[in-house]
Symmetry: D2
Subunit: 135 residues, 4 copies
């Protein structure tokens, strides 16, 4: 499995609960948005993550980085563009770009993932899942 080039988009509306006393989105929420972006990426590839878990494969986060470029505000429409950039052996890596309704890049991120079985042992993803990811 080599570097992916597929990017999948989805758009969310900023919730009031996601803002903080500075009047902008609290920085921890971007990780949750990227998580949702990854989930959407998988399901748009025909691979629902809940199916993976039902089959006994659990994707965990090993590393996450976020670069905050501009603030986001309540009611902003944020588009998360998710790209699978690495899928070698037991490791997956995604990058994310979050852009608001005015086309301004508000944050970029990268997450690295490992796959565990039901006993939390490191395993490789089965071929049927990798095929779907790469399509």
């Amino acid at each position: 499995m080599s570097e992916g080039t597929t990017t999948r988009n989805f758009t969310l509306t900023v919730r009031y609960a996601e803002t903080d006393a500075q009047g902008v989105v609290h920085h921890a929420n971007y990780l949750t948005w990227f998580d949702e972006g990854r989930s959407e990426f998988l399901s748009q590839q025909g691979l629902h993550y809940s199916d993976m878990e039902r089959d006994g494969f659990f994707v965990i986060v090993a590393r996450a980085t976020v670069d905050y470029r501009a603030p986001s505000f309540y009611e902003d429409r944020i588009t998360i563009a998710t790209t699978l950039v690495k899928g070698r052996g037991r490791m997956l890596e995604f990058i994310y770009q979050a852009t608001n309704q005015n086309g301004i890049l508000v944050a970029e991120g990268r997450t690295r993932h490992l796959v565990l079985d039901r006993k939390r042992r490191l395993v490789s993803m089965p071929d049927r899942f990798i095929q779907l990811l790469l399509e």
Copy 2:
């Protein structure tokens, strides 16, 4: 099992992430604080909720009510007083009072709970748990 009279306290410091763009704590966080209050109540009674789950008993929330009395702010020290008020058959009920460092009541709440087994069927709590709750 009759009405309990034991009240257990614990104190938390308001996190920046819990505030919203109004500059006060977002109202959904109080349910999380009451959840933590209940968890502390149980563990102070010698009944760790994680032990209950390990034994196959899952307490779920059937109903929750919060009355918001005054705003809470970042860095406030909030004391949650949790009281078990009902424990009849398969139902538990707790009330909560949240008070800040100046003694001002900021919120009151009530939650009603049911107990499920591993297959999410309604069950009664075992006597050994009820004994601990009532002590």
Copy 3:
């Protein structure tokens, strides 16, 4: 202003971050969903809540109740139906029904609201906002 009869719907997809160790959505998230439902209700009526705050009117939550009917799971599609049920003087009241993709009612709720000015004093909503709410 009398009882409203308008109901507004919006649909969300359950985030992984919203689940808890019981494998279902943690109960505090429903308040956030109802908050988003209310926000969508207002904007579908042509009244963006961010505009209200810009004009110096802050809607706060005075009371919230949730009845939990069935669990929600990761990737569920939840439709929140929001209805304005009371709007007398300085008080607003909304009810909510949350239904999943199989038509199962998962939760119902009710929230009561007051309106504050920039100095956090109780005020009445201006007529121009009430007109939009009632249309």
Copy 4:
């Protein structure tokens, strides 16, 4: 202002709401914990962040990285060790180590911060704040 060597600790108990359907703490919560660690660092240095905001200085997050080493579970007691590692001109940088009750390192992180004024313009922190940070 040179590299700081002071480390400040605080300990939290994992909330049920912080777990996810994998039965472990959802990865986004670590950023909130580090945020709370930074808040505790400042207040233990005698510099309440709420005072900074009252004086018109807003610390924002420009970059955040988390390395996840081991899972955390409900009721775990997590100690966050926060160290100020850089404070040159307009930039602050902190590192964090999160360790559980068994002494296992569960996560490490790093955050980079900028300081804004009320109009969200980049400024330097006043000397009186820097003195307190370095003491």
